[in-house]
């Protein structure tokens, strides 16, 4: 029985791999665009998951990191003419630094206090981007040129899809490895019991900072990819609703798990697409789906999939 399961599993993997790898060739532009968004949000989810899922620190301000990533990448490309292999990582590094600094006030805060403080972070970033018109274009937004690397220009939906896919694969692999290392386990300890962690010699402060920085890095890279995908960014988009969306994604998908992060992103991007047709009530159905998922699936979508798999 287990053998049959293994074989079916492998066959499905191959099939899925083929689908994902060849999508732009047989899907039209809009579904490819939607899948690209899934990839981007997936990266955000993985990053935020380190902070909230593993280290247990709630953040209602991650739209701020997303915005930092988007604007840094956009400006480095537009004003400094950097290729994407430089602009994206640089944006990530900058966000990591910001994350480390932002973590400092947050070290002593918990729960709702931390939530409001991170909310404040998101608001400050959004306002800064809006007010600093000379740099960011302010409320008029910023047009972003296509990403390039030497003579290669990624100008089509298909190009962006593969770039995003590559980054997502790389990011997932890296995340899986980090989760397994001492850092990953230390973060989990911080979530479970700060006191116990302290007793074990784990520097709680250090790992909180690492969690913030790491999540900032992933989210910023996602932000950079996003600005390349939509080619126009405006501070309006990076608001508290976006932050709440990010948080909901990882909880729905399965808090504390990497596959859950990706599933959450899939749900969040695809569910509104499925509900589009419902006249006058897409919001209603979406809200209901959140409640239903939480009531029926305590460990999120990934936990549910896991339960099905085990029962099969």
């Amino acid at each position: 029985m287990a053998d049959a399961k293994k074989h079916t599993g492998r066959a499905v993997v191959v099939l899925v791999g083929l689908v994902v790898l060849t999508a732009p060739f047989w899907m039209s532009g809009y579904p490819v665009y939607v899948l690209s968004l899934v990839g981007i949000f997936g990266l955000v989810a993985i990053g935020l998951n380190f902070l909230t899922g593993y280290a247990g620190q709630i953040s209602l301000g991650h739209a701020g990191f997303f915005a930092i990533g988007a604007y840094t990448t956009a400006l480095l490309t537009k004003k400094a003419g950097l290729p994407f292999v430089l602009s994206l990582p640089l944006a990530g590094v900058f966000a990591t630094a910001v994350g480390a600094v932002a973590a400092l006030p947050a070290l002593r805060l918990k729960n709702l206090y931390l939530a409001i403080a991170t909310l404040g972070f998101g608001v400050v970033v959004q306002k800064l981007l809006f007010e600093w018109q000379s740099l960011t274009g302010g409320g008029a937004g910023l047009e972003v040129p296509a990403p390039r690397l030497g003579p290669i220009v990624l100008s089509t939906a298909g190009h962006m899809y593969y770039l995003i896919l590559a980054v997502v694969i790389l990011g997932t692999w890296a995340a899986l490895n980090i989760a397994r290392t001492g850092s990953g386990r230390a973060m989990v300890m911080v979530r479970e019991s700060e006191v116990a962690a302290g007793c074990l010699g784990i520097s709680v402060a250090k790992y909180k900072v690492i969690a913030f920085s790491l999540s900032g890095f992933y989210t910023a890279i996602a932000g950079g990819l996003y600005c390349y995908l939509v080619r126009y960014i405006n501070p309006e988009s990076f608001n508290i609703h976006m932050s709440i969306t990010f948080l909901s994604m990882i909880v729905i998908g399965g808090l504390g798990t990497i596959p859950g992060s990706l599933l959450g992103a899939v749900f969040y991007v695809l569910a509104p697409e499925l509900f589009r047709g419902i006249k006058d009530a897409p919001g209603l159905v979406f809200g209901l789906s959140l409640v239903v998922v939480m009531v029926l699936m305590p460990k999120g979508l990934w936990g549910f999939v896991g339960r099905l798999w085990r029962r099969a």
């Binding site: 006030p105 403080a117 404040g120 709440i244 009530a281 959140l290 939480m294």
Partner: protein, 291 residues
């Protein structure tokens, strides 16, 4: 003169944040769950009151009382249908569930009552502004503050002195032991959420005459309510109330004296600053826990 009008105006706006804060903290203290649907629940019950007022020829007080009754029932219903099945699950799950509920109620209200803005009457609608030492004070907001204080006193009395209230405190402190003492956790939480719903409903019917009634009435107030609560300290009703009032005042002061366009961001920076020094709010007592 200008300075004082900023203070008065700030207290007036802050009174709205404070009222919402009470509803949030009541449920938070009793069941340890932040209810992100509180704003829309209040909006919904206020619309019910408005609808009753429009459709049936009843007095304003009757309509309001009915809407408050609806609010309390809604609170209990939410607790029974959404919160109770999720007891024992991680808090994040509950938060997301209430967020989903928030969206549901908002959409539902829009579908039932439309998106237009309406005037919600109140007995104080035609009252002239009070004139104290050259400053004009809006009577409605004074009333709101008075109601808020009265509500806090009532709720504190209920929680401290009545059986139901003591059961509530026991249930929130230690569920296992409370059960052993014969307290029905379910009943205690139902009471808490019913009271929270009621407080939210009161906030709704007080906010509506000031801000006009529409489906977006409570949207930003929920966040301000939380922010004010955090500033004041989530441990006590009085702290939350004071925090809300204070938030309104510093909004005005920051906007007028430092920067109009950056005002909102500065307010949050101030809150973060306060939290660095006092991680549980200005009036919050740092809770010591046995490990």
């Amino acid at each position: 003169m200008f300075f004082f009008s900023l203070i008065i105006g700030g207290l007036a706006s802050g009174s709205l944040y404070a009222m919402v804060g009470i509803a949030i903290v009541l449920v938070l203290q009793a069941s340890d769950i932040p209810n992100f649907a509180q704003g829309e629940m209040a909006m919904f019950s206020t619309f019910v009151g408005y609808w009753i007022l429009q459709q049936y020829n009843v007095s304003w007080w009757s309509a309001v009382l009915l809407s408050l009754l609806f609010a309390a029932v809604l609170g209990v219903a939410v607790q029974q249908l959404v919160i109770r099945p999720l007891l024992g699950r991680p808090t994040m799950n509950l938060v997301i569930a209430t967020l989903g509920l928030n969206i549901v109620l908002h959409s539902l209200a829009g579908m039932i009552w439309g998106n237009e803005t309406h005037i919600f009457p109140s007995p104080l609608s035609d009252a002239l502004p009070l004139n104290v030492a050259g400053l004009t004070i809006p009577p409605m907001n004074v009333f709101i503050i008075l109601v808020g204080v009265a509500l806090i006193l009532c709720l504190t009395f209920i929680i401290r002195k009545t059986r139901a209230g003591i059961a509530l405190r026991a249930a929130s402190q230690n569920q296992a032991v409370a059960r052993l003492m014969g307290i029905s956790i379910n009943r205690a939480f139902a009471v808490a959420w019913g009271l929270g719903g009621l407080a939210g409903g009161i906030a709704g019917v007080l906010v509506a005459p000031v801000l006009f009634l529409d489906t977006n009435m409570m949207g930003l107030l929920l966040i301000k309510g939380f922010a004010g609560g955090v500033l004041g300290g989530l441990n006590s009703l009085g702290g939350v109330f004071a925090g809300g009032l204070f938030l309104g005042v510093i909004e005005n002061l920051m906007g007028a004296y430092i920067s109009g366009s950056f005002g909102e961001a500065l307010v949050f920076l101030l809150i973060i600053g306060v939290l660095i020094v006092a991680p549980e709010g200005v009036f919050g007592r740092v809770r010591t826990r046995k490990v």
